[in-house]
């Protein structure tokens, strides 16, 4: 108890009981809680969804904009470029991009990226949409998720083959890459079934290797017996069917391209990476169909003594008309030693055993045994003309029945040697079709008997006024004879025949003394000289033959101008011969002979040498018969000659037609060139200013 003032209970503390915090909390707090959780969820979600950062390095980042340029996979946007910067040292442009999380695991080492820009080529226009929308980065990868990568090297050119695209990749080899360009079509029966990728030199630098992609299902058409050939440009070929011109599609004309075909069934299906050769021509490709390019070949040598001009590497080797291989090498080798050493020309033949009718897996040794056997029975090698126009030769293995015994020489050099026989280069010429064959078919002896100009000369002789005057002169001679017989003097002869005969004897005696017989002999000699002149004229014929043969030889060598010049020379020679003095002098000579005969008869008449007349007439008759004989062969010669001229003319015409064909080809080429120029100019314009496609400028 205290003694202080107020009594009673102390003042109550009436503060209200504090309610617990959770009871005092307003429901409004739910709002920021919801907002916060929504925000956090959104933030977490966007962090979760944030793409994987990758880096692509490009040499050239034209058109790539940070924050705008999309990355597309099969035309679906899967990411976006976040940043573009230079690599250290300004070597590359680094493009940083975010790729969707769902896609990122597939970006493994086969992923490729390139920038899609408008592109105009002979195959068409691509990427036109990027003219408006700006460039985008196209990605390409397969559907297998291997070890994901985050740094890539972008390609400058779009990848032609989509990863995961179904088809077969094969490798093509060619000796010349000028016909191969990236993206060039691979055709099968005229349809594009694939395309070439970038051609590259092989590791040894001797060939061009290009990967080709054949799309499924066409890749099933490619088997181990498929052959590829070059279809670029166009080909012109001369054959028995005339001239043929093959022009493929415009794209393959400009860009090149290859075609393939599988003629024989039964080839094995190919896997990726199978190697094929590209043949220059379809025919060559088809010719090689029955052999395996990788099969072993038998290499044998042939030693020729004469020139192998016209024989080239790749020339055919034929066995009884069938191609069994080709000439793989030509070289000169020395045979023998010291004084007996000779230079021989060695042709190495690559013979494919399978073409000899042996089984596909026959070894070269087996083929060698077979050929050795043949050689023992008379098989010989020789060169024959393969192409009469180009003069190309080929090597033929022929069976010679009466051949000297020989065997395949195994020891002399690097290759077994097949013995040779005389080359039949002209034989082929003789049997070849065409003009030159017919020229060759003319028998040389017949040509010796007569000549074109000879016939002309004789014809001129026959038409000559002197010659025509000759019968008249003979008639005159007979008339004179008759006059002589009917003359009083002559009729008076019987009256005093004995005296006359005695006198005649005396005359004969005196005539013998006066060398009248000698005169007659000289007349006959003159007639003989006339005949000899004819012979002399004929002697020029071998020259003509030689010229014709030279013409043939030059035609063989396909020296066109030479051929025409030689033909001209021949004709000029013929003209010369026709207009030669000898020929022209012939009628005069004959006339002289007649004149002399007439003079002789006059002498006889005056000298009364009647009995010599018959002999003289007979001599003249013989001379005339000689002339007649000569003349009788001339129509045939004339026909031959005119044939020769016609043939020569035909040859010349043919070539001039071909030259017109050449002009047309040239014109076609120029047209194509102009078209190509226009296309490339358009391409350049569009590349410089893609907007022109829109604006039309």
């Amino acid at each position: 108890m205290s003694n202080t003032e107020p009594t009673g209970p102390a003042g109550l503390d009436v503060r209200p009981v504090k309610r617990p915090v959770w009871k005092r909390l307003s429901l409004v707090w739910l709002v920021p809680l919801i907002a916060l959780s929504a925000s956090l969820y959104a933030a977490w979600q966007s962090y979760q969804d944030q793409g994987t950062l990758i880096t692509i390095s490009f040499e050239n980042a034209a058109g790539i904009t940070a924050g705008e340029t999309a990355i597309k996979y099969r035309d679906v946007t899967v990411g976006e470029v976040e940043d573009v910067e230079f690599a250290f040292g300004l070597t590359d442009v680094l493009v940083h991009a975010r790729i969707d999380k769902t896609v990122a695991p597939y970006l493994d080492d086969d992923a490729q990226f390139w920038v899609v820009r408008p592109d105009v080529s002979v195959r068409g226009i691509t990427g036109l949409d990027t003219v408006l929308s700006g460039v985008y980065i196209e990605g390409n990868w397969d559907t297998d998720a291997d070890v994901a990568q985050f740094e890539f090297v972008g390609m400058e050119q779009p990848a032609l083959t989509r990863a995961g695209q179904r088809g077969t990749q094969i490798v093509l080899r060619a000796n010349d890459g000028s016909a191969l360009s990236e993206g060039a079509p691979v055709l099968h029966k005229g349809i594009q079934v694939g395309y070439l990728e970038t051609p590259e030199l092989s590791s040894n630098g001797r060939q061009v290797v290009v990967t080709a992609f054949i799309e499924s299902p066409y890749d099933r058409r490619v088997t181990s017996s498929t052959r590829f050939w070059d279809t670029s440009g166009f080909s012109v070929s001369f054959g028995t069917g005339g001239v043929s011109l093959d022009v493929n599609s415009l794209a393959s004309l400009i860009e090149g391209g290859v075609a393939f075909d599988t003629i024989v069934s039964g080839g094995n299906p190919v896997r990726d990476g199978q190697v094929f050769d590209i043949f220059d021509e379809e025919q060559a490709a088809r010719d090689s169909l029955f052999i395996d390019p990788n099969a072993a070949v038998l290499e044998m040598a042939v030693l020729f003594e004469q020139s192998v001009s016209g024989l080239s590497e790749g020339a055919e080797v034929r066995f009884q008309g069938i191609r069994i291989g080709e000439v793989s090498d030509l070289s000169a080798i020395v045979v023998g030693e010291s004084e007996s050493a000779e230079v021989r020309l060695q042709a190495v033949l690559s013979i494919e055993p399978s073409r000899l009718g042996m089984s596909v897996d026959a070894t070269p040794d087996a083929a060698l045994a077979l050929i050795s056997d043949f050689v023992a029975r008379g098989l010989r090698a020789r060169m024959v003309t393969g192409n009469i126009l180009s003069g190309a030769l080929l090597v033929e293995l022929v069976q010679i029945d009466d051949a000297l015994p020989a065997i395949v020489t195994l020891t002399s050099g690097q290759y077994p040697v097949i013995p040779t026989t005389g080359s039949e280069i002209s034989d082929v010429a003789a049997t070849a079709e065409g003009v030159l064959a017919r020229i060759n078919a003319l028998p040389v002896e017949d040509l010796m008997d007569g000549a074109i100009d000879m016939m002309d000369s004789i014809e001129r002789l026959a038409n000559d006024e002197y010659t025509r005057a000759a019968p008249a002169a003979l008639v005159e001679l007979l008339d004179e004879t008759r006059t002589l017989v009917a003359s009083e003097d002559t009729q008076a002869i019987p009256g005093d025949l004995r005296t006359v005969i005695r006198d005649l004897d005396a005359i004969v005696a005196s005539a013998a003394e006066a060398d009248l017989i000698g005169d007659l002999d000289s007349v006959l000699e003159t007639a003989n000289a006339a005949v000899a002149n004819l012979d002399a004229a004929t002697e020029n014929l071998p020259e003509i033959i030689a010229q014709v043969e030279a013409l043939t030889a030059k035609a063989n060598a396909l020296a066109l101008e030479g051929l025409i010049a030689t033909a001209n020379d021949t004709l000029a020679g013929i003209d010369d011969l026709v207009s030669s003095d000898d020929a022209a002098a012939l009628p005069g000579t004959l006339n002289n002979a007649l004149d002399e005969m007439r003079g002789f008869l006059a002498e006889v008449r005056e000298g009364g040498a009647i009995e010599n007349v018959n002999a003289a007439l007979e001599a003249a008759n013989q001379a005339a018969q000689a002339i007649e004989t000569s003349v009788s062969t001339l129509p045939e010669l004339s026909a031959r000659a005119s044939r020769l001229v016609a043939q020569t003319e035909a040859v010349v015409n043919t070539y001039s037609e071909r030259s017109r064909f050449g002009t047309e080809t040239l014109q076609t080429l120029r047209d194509i060139q102009t078209a190509a120029d226009a296309v490339s100019a358009l391409a350049r314009t569009i590349q410089r200013n893609p907007n022109s496609l829109l604006t039309g400028r």
């Binding site: 909390l25 409004v28 739910l30 916060l36």
Partner: protein, 215 residues
């Protein structure tokens, strides 16, 4: 009945509040009742001398508003797609673009309406709430004025949202040009709404209680 001097010119410390006088005023119609009255006799509105949960509500709405304001700035406000390109612009990005294009006046308007006013409101509300909690007696008039400004200006904060709404409605030319509102537009609208609710939840009478306890 005791008469109080309610002269407006006198010092604040000399005033007495209705609460101290045992009275409660209806906030809707202004009718003054005895302190223990529960409903207004005139308008039947609920009577409350002081809103005890006012500060809680203020803080809750304010925080919600501030949270909503973050995506409003991070995400794009406008999605503009034309034939050529597609662009997204945030508030600040739009301001930058306007400055780059030389429209500094419009840039200032957008900046003020979209950034300065919301931020200012946040700051003002935080200041008011904090000072009330600390029962600070300083600047009572100034604080009251600030509260009134915040309340007044709140509705004008929606100017951005209106612009976006109008543009989106007008520019719908299919592939040629299309404008769509972005996530930020919704967030911004929410932020403004939350802030206005926050300001409305604030019981201005609490400002005047401070000096009672302090003094």
């Amino acid at each position: 009945m005791q008469v109080f001097d309610l002269g407006s010119t006198g010092p604040i410390s000399g005033l007495i509040t209705a609460r101290e006088a045992g009275l409660v005023a209806c906030q809707r119609c202004g009718q003054v009742h005895k302190r223990d009255a529960v409903y207004c006799k005139r308008c039947e509105g609920a009577l409350q001398s002081r809103d005890t949960e006012s500060l809680q509500k203020v803080w809750a709405w304010l925080i919600a508003g501030m949270i909503a304001y973050i995506p409003a700035n991070v995400y794009p406000m406008l999605l503009t797609s034309t034939l050529v390109e597609r662009s997204e612009s945030t508030i600040i990005g739009g301001v930058w673009e306007l400055i780059h294009h030389g429209s500094i006046g419009i840039a200032i308007i957008v900046f003020v309406a979209s950034v300065m006013i919301p931020m200012g409101k946040f700051v003002a509300i935080i200041y008011l709430a904090v000072t009330v909690q600390q029962r600070s007696g300083a600047h009572q008039h100034g604080r009251h004025k600030a509260y009134e400004i915040v309340e007044f200006i709140g509705r004008w904060s929606m100017i951005d949202v209106f612009v976006v709404a109008i543009l989106s409605a007008l520019v719908q030319l299919n592939t040629i040009a299309t404008i769509n509102p972005g996530i930020a537009a919704v967030s911004f609208a929410l932020s403004v709404i939350f802030t206005m609710l926050s300001a409305q939840s604030f019981d201005a009478r609490l400002i005047w209680d401070a000096d009672r306890t302090a003094g």
